[in-house]
């Protein structure tokens, strides 16, 4: 009688362990996908004035194709993180009088977040690797149809010429299987 009771009790524990393992296993079954935006053009028409100059890039239906190719949908999207953002100038002159670049994201139903910064840009640099925010939460942006990438570039003095930057921006998408 007592042995049977113990068997039943052990079975219960075993069952609980199995359930817990399944839950834990399902939690761990996320996959990461890299989403890269290449040569994103940010342009500011001259004349430009000393101080911050804003440039925008509108991103429509981001990540849809990337997710589709990988066999996922937006509903499976768990997390989006900015991994890197590097800017370069379209010509060989370099950043000239621009001494900092901040990258922000915004969308209709989400608050704008600061995503990355470089300050100062090393003198004479032709490429600028931005430091990425540790805290920026970007998932909500990518659930929406339209995202605005907003760049604020600080000029140390007025200039007549327009400015054009190209950016390579890499996001890491975490999706649940």
């Amino acid at each position: 009688m007592f042995a049977n009771f113990c068997k039943i009790k052990n079975m219960k524990i075993l069952f609980q362990i199995i359930v817990l393992s399944v839950i834990l296993a399902s939690c761990g079954s996320n996959q990461t996908i890299t989403y890269t935006l290449k040569d994103v053009a940010f342009t500011a028409e001259g004349p430009l004035f000393e101080g911050p100059n804003t440039m925008q890039y509108e991103l429509a239906n981001a990540i849809n194709d990337t997710l589709k190719k990988a066999g996922f949908t937006k509903d499976q999207l768990e997390k989006v993180q900015l991994k890197s953002a590097s800017f370069s100038t379209a010509d060989s002159v370099g950043f000239g009088a621009f001494n900092s670049i901040a990258l922000q994201l915004t969308a209709q139903n989400s608050s704008m977040v600061n995503a990355a910064i470089i300050n100062p840009i090393p003198v004479g640099a032709k490429n600028a690797e931005l430091t990425v925010s540790k805290e920026a939460e970007l998932t909500d942006f990518f659930m929406q149809d339209k995202i605005f990438l907003v760049t604020d570039a600080n000029l140390s003095k007025d200039q007549d010429a327009s400015a054009q930057f190209k950016a390579n921006i890499v996001f890491e998408l975490t999706v649940s299987k």
Partner: protein, 152 residues
């Protein structure tokens, strides 16, 4: 023929109304100075919402370092080098109706705190900027003046 005319008229009225609402909201665009005169803020439109960034500082350099001021109070250590000049301290405002823009936030770089915020245009050259936590009744209002004044 009458139906067609009515359709055209109603379409035109709707279009005119949407243009008018957009124009009403865009009245806030410009350069503004808070009451303490320490900064100037340019309000601009991104998408359908309004944002304000610092374009001028009375004291651009940090007296401790002698270098341009940065957002040293940001809780994210990676963003503490963001320059205050250019910092977007007003974010995500929607034009509500009449003279009010709401749904946004204001950032105080002196303590690194972000507050809910409502903007009311008292006249074309004066804004009441009310920062608060949770309920608008518990907050503080600052009066901002437009730098290049417009006709009332």
């Amino acid at each position: 023929m009458k139906t067609l005319l009515l359709l055209v008229l109603s379409t035109f009225t709707l279009f005119a109304h949407s243009i008018s609402a957009q124009d009403q909201g865009d009245r806030i665009i410009g350069i503004w100075e808070p009451s303490n005169g320490k900064a100037r803020v340019k309000i601009e439109k991104i998408g359908t919402r309004y944002y304000g960034k610092i374009v001028w500082l009375k004291e651009p350099n940090d007296p401790e370092t002698g270098k341009p001021k940065v957002d040293k109070n940001n809780s994210d250590a990676n963003l503490q080098t963001v320059p205050l000049k250019g910092y977007r301290l007003l974010k995500d405002f929607n034009f509500k109706s009449g003279n009010e823009w709401d749904g946004g936030t204001i950032y105080d770089p002196e303590n690194g705190s972000t507050y809910d915020c409502v903007i009311t245009m008292k006249d074309n050259n004066t804004l009441d900027i009310r920062g608060f936590i949770g309920i608008s009744a518990f907050g503080r209002t600052d009066v901002w003046k437009r730098l290049q004044t417009q006709k009332k």
